[in-house]
């Protein structure tokens, strides 16, 4: 049992003037499940990392556990005080296998070697993953990795459990299973749980307090206000009115024959024939972790697949990598994976050199930069841009390349409402002018209606074309 108290915490990132957390005061009650919400980029992760002791505090007394700052707690006891589950499942392990990672954590806590095996077994049984004990961590799915990470926290018996958007890459059934375990830890073992999420669906049964982080400050809502907030939250609705089932007069661009993804231990796509059509804007939807990004990586020859994939009738394995990469491009989910240079101007120059420069004249590029509010940033270093600015620059760079087929993996991720409107307008105009084939994965569902003409849903390991949703 531990109460987390944050008092007068101000935190500013180096080289920024605006503090991300501003004179913040909040108390997370002991043994309760608190949900922390707020806009993306609003400082949720920063606050959790400060509480976990992963980012050094400007003032050691600003965060206390039952009145004690973390630095005053003995090193071997710190992990038993507070532990954190990360957003990106694969980045939280040091060792190779599940059992070795559990041993590593328990050794750090100076647990008697004789007691370690029993603790490991108990923790794995509590989460229900005894069968994963000797598996390689990097071969597990994101959901399994999050379960292992939670089992480690259970083994370490941490009083305060922090979770930073833990379900971002997890399919809904796994999310539910993990939530049930978390609630059990809270009610049966008296753990204090603080979970950050911007999606408020399906928490109403379990969460006691909603903490809202806005403009650097946290407001803790009462149970009644929390329930009211949950009731008012409606997830984005998918509304596609221009969508129709593919007809015979469409031209096939990419064709999968008995295409399958995944491996024997985790099948993502069961063998199926799949056609992707030229000059159309296709949206692919499906649960988190169901294999949408894996499909894109297979389409650009970065990932393994079974069966055959053809582009304009030719097996993509037999095409020259260099030529194929100019025909079928991918806008990666992580913006930094796309960039090759240091400044915005250099990055744009590279795209203009090899891209479609008859359509993307310097004037047009300048106009697009102005629309995207990037015109004043051309001399800036890319990695000092905000994540939203990076995303917009990334899209512009790939649009200028204008490959016949452009795959877009979450192109709207982390953009604010105004930016989404601008980006969708630009995408729609360019697609119509150049007759591009766009294939898009997006969890952001509003604002897509004007562009999308075909809709593929990935469900039960099968991709099927959908009809219009009124």
């Amino acid at each position: 049992m531990a109460t987390v108290t944050v008092h007068a915490l101000t935190f500013t990132y180096p080289k920024r003037t605006q503090p991300v957390l501003d004179d913040l005061d909040v108390t997370f009650p002991s043994g309760k499940f608190s949900l922390l919400t707020g806009v993306s980029g609003g400082g949720k992760s920063t606050l959790l990392k400060l509480i976990a002791g992963l980012t050094p505090l400007p003032d050691a007394d600003a965060i206390t556990f039952d009145g004690h700052p973390l630095t005053q707690i003995a090193p071997a006891k710190r992990a038993a005080t507070v532990a954190m589950l990360f957003q990106e499942p694969s980045t939280q392990f040091t060792m190779d296998t599940v059992v070795n990672e559990l041993r590593f954590a328990l050794e750090n806590q100076r647990v008697d070697p004789a007691a370690i095996p029993a603790k490991i077994t108990a923790a794995l049984d509590f989460i229900g993953i005894a069968d994963l004990r000797d598996r390689q961590l990097m071969q597990l799915s994101g959901g399994e990795q999050q379960k292992v990470a939670l089992a480690i926290i259970v083994a370490m018996d941490s009083d305060v459990i922090l979770l930073d958007e833990p379900f971002a890459n997890i399919d809904p059934p796994t999310r539910l299973a993990l939530l049930e375990k978390l609630v059990a830890l809270c009610t049966q073992r008296g753990k204090t749980i603080i979970l950050a999420d911007h999606d408020l669906s399906n928490y109403d049964r379990w969460v006691d307090h909603l903490a809202v982080l806005d403009a650097g400050k946290v407001t803790l809502l009462s149970p009644t206000a929390t329930q009211a907030r949950f009731a008012a939250f409606t997830p984005d609705k998918l509304r596609l009115t221009h969508v129709a089932l593919p007809t015979d007069d469409l031209t096939v661009s990419l064709q999968g024959t008995q295409l399958a993804l995944g491996h024997s231990q985790r099948q993502l796509l069961r063998p199926q024939d799949l056609a992707l059509f030229a000059h159309q804007a296709t949206l692919i939807t499906g649960p988190n972790g169901s294999g949408k990004s894996t499909l894109f990586r297979a389409l650009v020859r970065l990932g393994a697949y079974q069966g055959q994939l053809t582009y304009n009738g030719q097996d993509i394995r037999k095409l020259s990598r260099k030529r194929y990469a100019r025909q079928v491009g991918l806008m990666f989910q992580s913006a930094s994976a796309q960039f090759l240079n240091v400044t915005v101007a250099e990055e744009l120059a590279l795209s203009q050199k090899f891209g479609n420069h008859t359509y993307f004249t310097p004037e047009r590029v300048q106009d697009l930069l102005t629309q995207l509010h990037l015109a004043d940033h051309v001399d800036q270093i890319i990695y000092s841009l905000s994540s939203g600015q990076q995303k917009k620059l990334q899209l512009l760079c790939m649009l200028i390349m204008a490959p016949n087929v452009l795959l877009l993996d979450e192109p709207l991720k982390g953009l604010d409402f105004a930016s989404i409107q601008v980006v969708m307008r630009i995408l729609t105009t360019v697609q119509r002018d150049l007759k591009l084939t766009l294939i898009m994965i997006s969890h952001q569902l509003s604002g897509l209606d004007d562009l999308i003409t075909l809709h593929l849903a990935l469900d039960q390991q099968q991709l099927t074309y959908q009809e219009a949703t009124p």
């Binding site: 990392k49 976990a52 002791g53 992963l54 090193p75 071997a76 710190r78 992990a79 038993a80 532990a83 954190m84 990360f86 990106e88 980045t91 939280q92 392990f93 040091t94 060792m95 190779d96 070795n100 990672e101 041993r103 590593f104 954590a105 328990l106 050794e107 750090n108 806590q109 100076r110 647990v111 008697d112 070697p113 370690i116 095996p117 990097m138 480690i152 370490m156 650009v300 970065l302 990598r321 260099k322 990469a325 100019r326 491009g329 991918l330 990666f332 930094s336 994976a337 796309q338 090759l340 240079n341 590279l350 795209s351 090899f354 891209g355 990695y383 760079c397 790939m398 390349m401 490959p403």
Partner: protein
């Protein structure tokens, strides 16, 4: 044999071989490494790699020295065999040692600070990740019309950026699982340092000394 002691033995022998010129000892070391590798079921493919790569470099070295015409035959044979001693002993060590056991042994037996021991292990576990990252960077470049080769500085710039990011992630991962720099830890699995290990270590060194002494001109 205990991994730390095995590492020490390999390094000591390599050092001695570097400063002496007895080709018979080199040949004996090559033969012993070969036999031990065969006993430990090293794959044929791995074995061919371990042979062909040094063969190329050793031959090139000997050939260029012969053209110069100043080196004696004896010296050329010593150089040629020395190259194989390094590679075969290195191969024998890596093929018969599990990185995790070596890490535990370095921490427990050689008293290396845990930070370095686990840092080494993490770097080892990062290898497949680096390969995947390089493939992604090259694909991203091709999509922009640029071909990146192994000698392209941009490739290294991006890999270093990614590695810096990973090192932050790894530090966070270790901290969140209770690792505190310099703090004492317990050991779930102990790596034994037996008398037998010391005997093998000492005897091997003695045999080498005798061989070198007899073989010296």
């Amino acid at each position: 044999m205990n991994p730390s002691l095995k590492l020490a033995l390999a390094v000591l022998i390599a050092l001695e071989v570097s400063f002496t010129q007895v080709w018979t000892v080199n040949v004996a070391l090559i033969a012993i490494s070969l036999v031990l590798m065969l006993i430990n079921h090293v794959t044929v493919k791995r074995f061919l790699w371990l042979t062909l790569v040094p063969l190329f470099f050793a031959s090139a070295l000997v050939w260029s020295l012969t053209l110069q015409g100043t080196a004696s035959h004896h010296f050329l044979i010593v150089l040629f065999t020395r190259m194989f001693v390094y590679v075969y002993m290195g191969g024998l060590f890596t093929q018969t040692t599990d990185p995790l056991t070596l890490t535990r042994s370095l921490e427990q037996n050689a008293k290396l600070p845990a930070k370095f021991a686990y840092g080494f292990l993490a770097a080892f576990n990062l290898m497949p990740k680096i390969q995947a990252e390089v493939a992604t960077i090259r694909a991203a470049a091709l999509m922009r019309g640029q071909e990146l080769h192994v000698w392209s500085p941009q490739l290294y710039f991006k890999v270093i950026l990614a590695a810096m990011n990973w090192s932050d992630q790894l530090a966070a991962a270790m901290t969140s699982h209770g690792f505190v720099e310099g703090a004492p830890r317990t050991h779930a699995i102990t790596v034994a340092l037996r008398a037998r290990d010391w005997w093998i270590f000492a005897l091997s060194l003695v045999v080498i000394q005798v061989g070198l002494f007899i073989g010296l001109p």
